[in-house]
Structure formats: structure tokens, C-alpha cells
Amino acid sequence: MMLRSPHAIGLWLPSLLVCGSLFWTWKTAASSTVEIHPRVQTFVGQYCLDCHSAEKEKGDLNLEDLSFALDDTSTAQYWQDVLDVLNLGEMPPENKPQPTLEEMTQVLEDLTHSLLDARKAMADTGGRPVSRRLNRREYSRFVGDLLGVDVDENLLPDDDTYEGFDTVGASLSLTGFHIDRYLQTARDALTKLQPEQPASPIERTDVTHRGGARRIEEAYQKYKQLYESGEIAHPDLDAETYRRITPTNRRTYKQHYLTAKNLYHNFEKFDEGWVIIDPRAGHSVVIDMADKPAGRYLLRTRIAAAGKNQEKGRYLGLQRRSESEDALNGTMAYSHVRGTMAAPEILEIPIETHGFDTNFVMRCRQPEEPESADFEDYIRPFQPTRKITWYEQGVWVDWVEVIGPISPNKNRYAEIFPQGTTPTASEADAYAQSILQRFGQRAFRGQAPDPADISSTLQFYHLAEENGRDFESAVKEAMAYMMISPRFLYAIEPGGEKITQLDARGLANRLALFLWSGVPDAALLATVSDRSILSDEVLTAQVDRMLKHPRAEAFYDNFMDQWLSLHEIESVAFPEEYKKVTLASAKREPVETYKYLMRENLSLINLIRSDFVVVNALLAEFYGLPDVIGNDYRPVPVPGDSIRGGLLGMTAILGMGGDGEKSLPIKRGAFVAAKIIDRHPPSPPPNVPLIKVDGRQSTRALFEAHSDKASCASCHQRFDSFGFALESFDELGLWRDTELLRWKTVVNNDGTEKLVKLKEPTAVPIETHGVLEDGKTPFANYHEMVELLSAQKGDQFTTGMVKGLIKYGIGRPVSFTDTEMIEQLVSESAQNDYRARDLVKAFVLSRAFRSK
């Protein structure tokens, strides 16, 4: 870090050499005013001032008097205009001395980052969080905790995010529309607050009626006869109708025959239940959910692997089908079936519906299923020489039960209305008041409501009574009102003129919001009443306890999802097979890996490179790892030269760096820059044309064009290399050594060129060598790059994570005032092998987390 006096260009020269070795990190240390990088100042003197001086002012631009200190937005805007003009290559004009490509690249990089830093500095809030509105997931969780019911968050508007985080107060705005929707959500939740209902009867659906050995045999004989006789009329149709059916449809009758034949020959005889083989053979069991209310259910089913190879187990897929075009439609969740026909198992699968789901479909997925399996494959088992293949393996289902809806919360009706809901007229008002008083204390996070709050709340009770509502609904009206009051809707942290330490209650609330996205529980509140939470020991113990609690899933899920922008994977158009089979597990992998590191307090460097992966059976199969059985994620060791182990070997991360059809090395490179080495590339400059393509080029050759143009190279030279090394993975994250070229250039008659798609793509080897962001340290391939990153970039990686924790956990942007704290946390973490849980604990103990 350097100290310097502003506006003194002369003083810069001695420190220039020092600057040269630092890149991207140049900024003022002491104040939040950003100074234009000295190299830019030199450049301007050399190439611009001839025309744009106080004297000449060409184009009304006088750079001589333009301040180098970016301390107000209009100065920054002037410099932004200068940057735009340089990016477009419009200046210096052709007839004037031109900078070299290297000079230009450097000055664009410096100016871009000076302006970015300035923008951040000007937006800086001095490290003070703003009390924030609860975001939609927090609100529904708070209401759920408070009432003990499941809350439907679908009415709540989407939240604005800040750098991917939905917890930053300044970005969480509020409009009348929000208040309306929050009120409606609270009301809907209150209607679910009901006396404990006797458990709804469990519906068991026997699958028997669909099959049975006898019917299979009958069907087999019937279809066999029809098929072999050649002149088939469909048994269920009259001759006239049958004539009108097209030959394509007739083929399905052949399918009937072959299906029956397969079942008859290759599977055990069963009298009950039915066998699901493959969706393409039209096999499935449909579970109707159309009339069920939204909520969580438990699906129980008696099930077994059937046919050949039962010992290998099967994957049972559960496909969600809804009438709406929402993102979840068609998604598949898989369970590993281990029961056999000799010993069927009872499998329990939790499912969740959103009210608009029509049904769930049970399907079977075979291990080693050929990708191109289609109907023709289905015929092959009847050929004389054959191996055991997928169509001879199925899942037998005996019955299915749907239990629920199940609420994970205990309905608090009895607690909220301890003396029932039919008080005598003389007692009613006092009873209502005591209910609301108690409810208010919980709603307002342990703070007793002001008498004035209670009396204003009571008017809604009175108003409702006057309008003919019964006692219970009248009290609920008042409760709904409390749940849109600012004391509930906002995470309010009282503070003084200056940044001060949070009191015990404020700290507990912030901690619960951070780790549980919810309210403190009794144990945490106990540390508030005796103020012991203010001591480091008790606070640390609470963090340990809370992280082990099931509620901490909210932290693992949301922090990882938002820090890594995992939700972006939803917009990738993966092939159907991947989307339905692998995607759901793939998305869990980074979260489950982080959870495991946290649980075992292992080094965060494992996220860059590790000798294990945390996977379930499905992912293990995708990665080609043997002997992983079941749906639980667990650590599985991988050899030292494995391509897996660490974020950069995960299919989710690699898949996000692609569009489902091809890999996007620039996106992957930018991911490494942003998440592994904490160097978020700036957004592309406006109006600069994209690279022109020669369709015969490899992806690498194509994007190497970035380095020929200063406006591209100024940023891309820092991260494109990472993406090139990751080109060893295809769009799904599977290893490859060659890349397929699908296009060629054809010259038209008039001499113009056009791109034409090749019928047969040509394979070219992938070039994976590159350099780290310093532009010097070379690596030959993916393995070397990951080794270098894990050996050298622990500090940067951890810095990025701490910044993420600040945004997620304190709910504010990272401030310049945080620099010292971040450096300290990171250096302590480095001495402690970057242990995951210790870092979160140190963060909670930091002054930044504990003050407002």
C-alpha cells in the first residue's frame, strides 16, 4: 500500500515501478477518493494534451484542467467518456502519434479499474448497514416460524439483488405493491393457523390393476397373434376406426406386442404391481396431485429392482409435471432403489408441490443407459445374440402412498389462543389484548410492543368485530397488521450517531438472520437475557451450535447459491437427458461440498483442489466413480491425478460456463477470475464491436483475437487463459481431448464470405496452455492450472469468500473501511489452513459483524 498526496503528478514517478507489479489492486489506501492511475496520467500527457489542452480545447475537451481525483460523479463521467472514446479506438486520431498495442492495453486496463474503484468509492456507505426489509424467503420463514405453518411465498415480489445477494438492505426497496403482497401473504398464512387436525388418512394406491402376470401373459398372447397374423386390426377398435389410423400410429401396436413380450420373457412373474422399464417404452406410474394443496408430502412406495442385474440397483426418477410453464416443470429427482424382487424395500421420498402441479410421474433410469436408446433398441432383445441391456431391467412398484401435507413446523394455534377462541363478551377485549401482546413480543423479535402499538393493533380487532367477524378472525386481522408493521417487516437494528457495537438482542437477531434466515430460538434468546452472547466464548459456541442445527441449511443453500450465482444454471439449455437426470444433483454438489467442509472444519482450499468429491450415487455415476450407492452425499476419495475435486471440476460449475450446447471459455475464465482469485472482471465496454469470426477456427483461436485489440485485451488478457485450460471439459463438464468444429467459411460468387454448418464436424485437439492473471506464470493444462491456483491463490480465494460473507451476513456492500478487517481475517485464516468453520466464526467475532 502506498501513501501519496493527491494532484502531485511529479511524486508519482518514483513509485511507478512499484505500481507496475501490482495489477487491479491499485487504489488509495487511506481515503475513499480514487485517483486516476499514474500511468493514465502519463499517457494523457503524451498522447492527448496536444489537442485537448486548456489552450486548444479540441472537441470542447480540456484534459489539462480535468481533475485526476475522481471524487465527484461529473469528473468520473468525463473520464468515462475518455475511456469510451479510447475503447472505440476513436482517439488518438490517425494523423497523430499512436500508442503501441501494449501501451493502449495497459492504459485501458488502468483507466477501467480506476473508474470502477471510483464508482465503488462514491457508492461507499462507510461500512454501515442499513436496516433492511426481510426478503421474500426470509419473510416467509419468519411468518412460518411465528405461526408454525407452511407459508406460500409465491405472492411475494422478486427481490432486488446486490452483486447476486438478496440480503443487502440498500438494494431491497419497498413499494405499495410490496406491502399489499406481504399483507396478503400474512393473511393466507393466518388462515392455515388452525387447531391441530387429526392426521389425514393415508391414501395407498395399489398399482396392481395396471398389471399382474396374468394380464401380461394375456396381452402377450393377444398381441403376438395379432402381430404375427400380419392383418391386424386393433383389438380395442372397430375396423373402420382402425383404417383411419396412420401407419405411424400402428407402430405403437407393435410396441404393445414387444413390450408384452419383453415383460413376459425377461421379468419375474408377478401378480401384483407393475414394472416400469423406460419412459420411451411408455412405462410410468402417475401420481395424481392435482387436488392436493400446496405443501410438503412424503411419498412411500414398495419397490424393487426387477429383471436382470437386480443387484446393481436402479434409479427411480420422479418427474414433476405442472400445467404452468415454470422452471420446475419436468424436473426430475432421482432415488436409488436397492430392493430386489426377492426382498423389496419401502422407499420414502419427500416431495413438495406448489399448488399448480398436476402430477408426479415415476420413471426408471438404468445404469449404463445408452444415450441414443430409442424404440429400435427396444426390439433388439429378441435378436439371437445379445448382452443384457437396459430394456431387460426395470423397477417393480407394488403400491404408492402419499402422506401429507406435512408441516415441519408445529402449528402454534394452541399456543397463540391458549384459552380457546370463544371468550365471554366481557372477557373478550382483555383476552384479545393479551394475545396480541404476546404475539407482538415474538413478532418483534423479543422486544415488547409499545402500548401505543398494541392499541393501534387493537383497532383492527374492533373494526373486524364491528363488521361481524368472530373473535378468532378479528384477532387474526390484528395479527396480519402486525406482520406488515415495520418492526416485523424490517430487520431493525437500533444505532447511534456513530458506528457502535450491537447490543445483545441486535447481535442475536443478526446472527439468526445470517445463519438461519430466521428468528433466534430459545437457546439463543437465553444468551440475550443474560447478555452472555456479548462474550467471544458464548458467541463462538452459539455459532457452532447453530451451524449444526437443521435450520442452518438456509445458510449453506443460500450463501453458496448466491456467492457462486448457482441459480444461473437454470437458464442453461442443457440436453433433456442432463436436465432431467443430472441437473438437480449437480446443483447440490457445491453446496454439499461446502457443508461437508464446514462440518469437518476442513480447508477452503478444497474448493480449488481436493482429493475427494462430495457426491451421491447419481453424480458418482456421471463422474464414473465406482461403488457409491444411495441418495446421500458423502465424501468419496479421488486419485491425485483426477479431473475431479474442487469447484472447477464440478459439472454444475462447468455447465454454467456453457450454453448447454457448447462450452463458453470466456464465461468460465471470468468465473475463475471472480470466484477463485477475487478479481471480478468489469462489464464489457459499450459499443465495442464483438470479435469477427472465422468459422474454421477453434474456440481458442477465435478468442485469442481478444489480444489483438486493446479494448478487449485490457481485461481479457487477465482471465481468458483460465477458460482455455477448462476447455478440456465439454459443455456438461465431461472430459475431452478434442474440440469439434462445426462451421466452415464459404466464399460467395460476389466475393463475400458466409459461414456454413458442416455435415460432419471435424475434430481438432484442444490447446490448454496459458498463464495466470499476472501474465507470466505459465501452466500447460487444467491440472497444472488448478495446482497453481490451489498453491498460490488461497488468500485471494478466501478474500472473495469473506466479501461474500459481508454482503450476505451483514447485509451491506463491502466498504473501503473493511480492507483491514478482511486482510486480518484472511491472514489469520491462512495460518489456520483456511479452515472453513473457523473462518465463519472469526467473521462473526469481527467488529464489522458485531457493530451497527
Partner: protein, 422 residues
Amino acid sequence: MTTKVKRRTFLASSGAFMALPKMESLAGEAVAQADAKKLVYLGFNFGCSPNWWEDNTGDYFYKKLKVLKNHQKEVSILRNFDASSAGNPHWGTSTLLTCHDVHSTPGKSFQNAISCDQVAARELGQAYRYPSLVLSSPNSSGSGDGGWGPGHSLSWNERGDAIPAMTSPLDLYHALFGGGKVSKEEQVYRLKQKRSMMDSLVSDIKRLNRQLIPEDREKMEQYTSSIRQIELDIARAEKWIDTPFPKATVDKPGPHIVSGSPEELDLMYSLITAALQSGSTRVITYRQSTDGILRKLNFASESHSLNHLRGDESLKLNDSRDKLRLQALGRFFDRMKAVTEANGKSLFDNTISSFACNIAYEHRIKDIPAVVAGGSLKHRSVIHDKDHTRKSADIWLTTLQAAGCEAESFAGSSTVVGDLIG
């Protein structure tokens, strides 16, 4: 205070627009309502095909835009307009109608300003059941900015907060034609209750404010102003409670509409036409997606990658997408032309429609695609000053003034597009 403002305040608070014409004949009322120019702002994501600009002859309608040829005399393509420093190469609509540099507020990483439709709603829309209707296609990508950039619609309130949009055609249908089974007594009770809620909340905040730091008080101001907004809504709802909803002029939308498909565009356009025709509002914004169109063209990848795809095939896709988008726009114009209003003009001529995106193509944000249509403006197919880049705010100021707003400037612009009103 000037008399201008006073009169406006009076209009807004007393519902004078409804009261005044009653002194005249009913026909006069209808004519006055038809004469009051309506505003429709349409914004889309991801820009256009580079071919939009290719033809510099000005002969757009016979080549690139021939799908709009029927409307040639009532449409203007505006060239060489952009939001300059208020633009962002990845944001199609965040600042389209605000023309505001969101990074220019010290202490804020993002701060937008009021959009022109809300200026119009405040000034022209108060006497309507809805001062403005804010509509959007749902974000079907399930994540990200959907090519629009931050925000929930084209509309931003006077605090620069994003106004959430109505995204379901069915909700819009119910908003226009009613359909709730709630009794009038119940409605009156609900309004009364809501009014007291707002009163109580304001006093809650006053008590709370004493404990808060200044930054938090600002947050509470946002809360208070949201409550004010609801109070205005309540006042309006109370005023309209005795006025029956208009009879439905369109079929009730079915539930399964694909975001950004031609079907969604047509459906929303027909509802927008109905909303204007029935006098439910005077100002509408509609933020469109094109995801559904791309699916229709068998483009399976995320929509954003079309901006980065190169080669003839992607150019063709871009062109086809634009064509489908413009065809739907043409059908919208047809629909509005088929409605004759009490002043003898078509709804199209009584409505100033605009259609624009802040991204041109790729990362280009200069010379944005922008179309203004109808409204009895002086159209001339193409308005193109090659030598002078103009602010897109000029366009919005022009629409505001042409609709009767008294605004003399908007978003730093005080120059109208003279050719349109000249």
C-alpha cells in the same frame, strides 16, 4: 406555488375529471375522454438484429420493416437517439424510460429515477381507475436480468424504486373487468380497514424513527411513501367502488402462456387495447420478453447467447425474431385502428405508442431501435439526423407533451423531437 400546480392538485384530489364533464352532455364526456391522448410504452430485451440499421436509404418499410408497411404513414422510426451515459450494454430496459445514470448518486451503488410513464400517470392518470398499468412478461429464464437489466418493469417511481409489474394476463383481465366475488359491504370494510392500517403504520414509524440512524430513517421514508401510495390507491378505490367494471370486450385468458411468445404478445396487446378502450387507464407500460419467440424459432439456448452468436444463421435468427416481434406490433396497431372512439378517431390515433430497447445489438447502445406510432402525430416514416446524436429523453419528453403533460423537461432534456409534433 404556481397556479398550474394548484389546478393539477385540485384535479388529482377531487376527481374533477369525472365531475366536470357531467355538466356537459354525456356525449361531450365521451369525446373529452377520447381526446385525452393515451400513452403506451413498449420495451423489449436484447436489442435487434444489426440489419435494423443496415439500410441507410431510409426506405425501411419496403425492406427491413415491411411487416409494418400497412402503418407506414402513422409510424416513425427514430434514428440516432440513445441514452448515452445512462445506458448499459447488458440492460435493455432498466433505464429506457428514466434515462438516468444509476451510478451518479453518491453513497448508492444503484439509484434510478422516475420513468416518463409515471410522470404522465401522476399528472394525467389520477382520474382513472388505474393511473397507470405496469405490465411485464414473466422472466422465464428463472434467473438473471432476462436481458432487461435490473428492475421489475419499465416503470420506476418518483423515488427511483422499481415498480413491480403485473405479469399474468389473467390478473390483468380481472383488474380490467372485475370478477371478484367479494360483496360491496366486504369491499367497503376492507378499504376502511386498510385506511386505518395505513394511518396506524405512519404513527408506528414516527415512534420507531426515534431509535434509528439517519440511513435507516431514509429506509423508513421509503416505507412511508409506499403507504402514501396505498392511501392514494384506497382513495381511488373508494371513488370507484360504485362504478361497475366495464363489460369484458375480450375473452378470459387461459392459464398457460409462454413468456415472450407471439401468443403472449397478442394476448397482452388485446388486453392493453381493451384497457384503453374501456377508459380504465391512460398510461400503460409493457416490458416484453422474446424467449417464447426464440423457442418458436427452435433456438434452444439462453436468449442472451443470440447476441453473441455469429454467422449467417444467427443473423437470420435475429431477423426472424425481429419480424415476429414486429408482426405482433403490427397486429396491435390493427387492433387499435379497429376501435373508433367518441371523437370519431380510432383508438390508434388517440394513443401515442412507442416501442424501444436501450440495446441496439451486441454490446452497442448507440442509435437504439425506437419506434413511435399513432397519436395523430406528424409521422414521416424515418426521422434521422445523421450528424447529431440526440438523447432518447427527447423522445419521452415529446410523448409527454403531446399527451398533454405540462412537463417542460424530462431527465435532463428540454428539447422535443420537433418533427413529430412540428
